[in-house]
Symmetry: C2
Subunit: 228 residues, 2 copies
């Protein structure tokens, strides 16, 4: 469902060229649940951003459901991203002047839904992310770090996208809240959603069927995890 | 060195009163290394902000080295904070338009130091935090999440403050980088610095001599850890 072919991402600062990704090739099949692990600075967020069409590779191809996205305009890319992908950002990217309700509702705005339908989806999303309905009227800066993280997760879930990409979704959560989030991801995966999780937590990675290891912008190992 | 007496922190939204901290009393002796653990939303960041003079309690007293800080003006508070305390924020609070060098240098600006002295302190700080000298010319948005976290740690270390307060300093780090940070904290503690770490990671907490557990804004348990 996502295919990366020889993807490179180069950042230039004047004369200096830095390779954040060097020749990364990866195929993710529909319905897979995989984690990506690696040292800080190894390229995980960059890789996820390329998969999630938030960033274009410097070289190489990205195919979403077989479509080569380099052929698409920014507008078409944004459309595909909104329809097919739910993204949990490493630092949430919540909008401070909107309420939590409005933040979670954001991905729904391009669809033709009634006020009532949207409210049900938003409420369901925040509960599924392990959050609380009482947060909906608040603003992001009135919530704790872990609470904001769960709001970011809810926003990624609200459209029930085919593909969920999560960048360190439990980094600010205690073990219990982190478990609830993983249980929701496992449930969604059992119903067919494709999920890719970047994580530093081996306990999270151990819940997934495949672990991709990245180091210095390259994939160095892929482990298949035999879980129940 | 830090004493909280019956501290309350109340947030009001119209008629609604929410107690983020309810009657918290805590004494931290000079040279202690303690961790604070608890569920997401339990009040850890609020507690650390009150200890670090970034926030004033609604009720109760805060004493820093015996001085009741409620008697001080905001300006005097800021002065004490700059001189005595190094704070690592949960979300770093780096300034995007400054370089990494300038970000780490910030706490040094009120002191009378030569350019050379400042450069040595900044370079030492970033290395001690497990970072790399090559980051110094960059800007925060050119670094990965974990790299930014280590810059935030470096900024808290650069003045060698008596008290270091760290809010989840390893949340975005891989195990190896997290270990390097803890080793530095242990080293500083062995040289007399008082260190308080808010963490969700039991492995980090196990390196500290005392663990304070907080739940729903109250301290529920204090464990003394017998480590080598
Ligand atoms: N400005 C505010 N207005 C209303 N409530 C607030 C405000 N700031 C924080 N709170 C509430 O205070 C409680 C404690 O927040 P705090 O940030 O201290 O939690 P925490 O223990 O650090 O959580 P985490 O582990 O998720 O970072 C939370 O329930 C939060 O919703
Ligand atoms: N705009 C940029 N300009 C220059 N270098 C960049 C830029 N953005 C990222 N990098 C570099 O690319 C590398 C990979 O960054 P990335 O954010 O993907 O790492 P990561 O694996 O997600 O790390 P972490 O676990 O710390 O979040 C890092 O070394 C970073 O310094
Ligand atoms: Mg990252
Ligand atoms: Mg917090």
């Amino acid at each position: 469902i996502i295919k990366l072919v020889n993807v490179h991402k180069i950042y230039r600062q004047g004369e200096i060229e830095f390779y954040a990704l060097k020749g990364v090739s990866l195929s993710i099949l529909e319905g897979e649940l995989i984690s990506i692990m690696g040292p800080s600075g190894s390229g995980k967020s960059t890789l996820l951003n390329v998969m999630g069409l938030l960033d274009r590779p410097t070289k190489g191809k990205v195919l979403i459901e077989g479509i080569d996205v380099s052929r698409l305009s920014d507008r078409e890319l944004a459309y595909i991203r909104n329809i097919k992908i739910g993204f949990v950002f490493q630092f949430f990217n919540l909008i401070n002047r909107l309420t939590i309700y409005e933040n979670i509702e954001l991905p729904l705005l391009v669809r033709n839904l009634s006020k009532k339908e949207k409210r049900m989806l938003v409420q369901s999303a925040i509960l599924r992310a392990g959050g609380d309905l009482s947060w909906l009227a608040k603003r992001p800066n009135q919530l704790s770090g872990g609470q904001q993280q769960r709001v970011a997760i809810a926003r990624a879930l609200v459209t029930s996208p085919k593909i969920i990409l999560a960048d360190e979704p439990t980094g600010n959560l205690d073990r219990y809240s982190g478990k609830l989030v993983m249980e929701e991801f496992l449930k969604l995966n059992s119903m067919g959603q494709t999920i890719v999780i970047v994580t530093h937590d081996p306990e999270i990675a151990n819940c997934t069927k495949k672990i991709v290891y990245i180091k210095n912008g390259e994939i160095v190992k892929v482990d298949t995890n035999d879980i129940n």
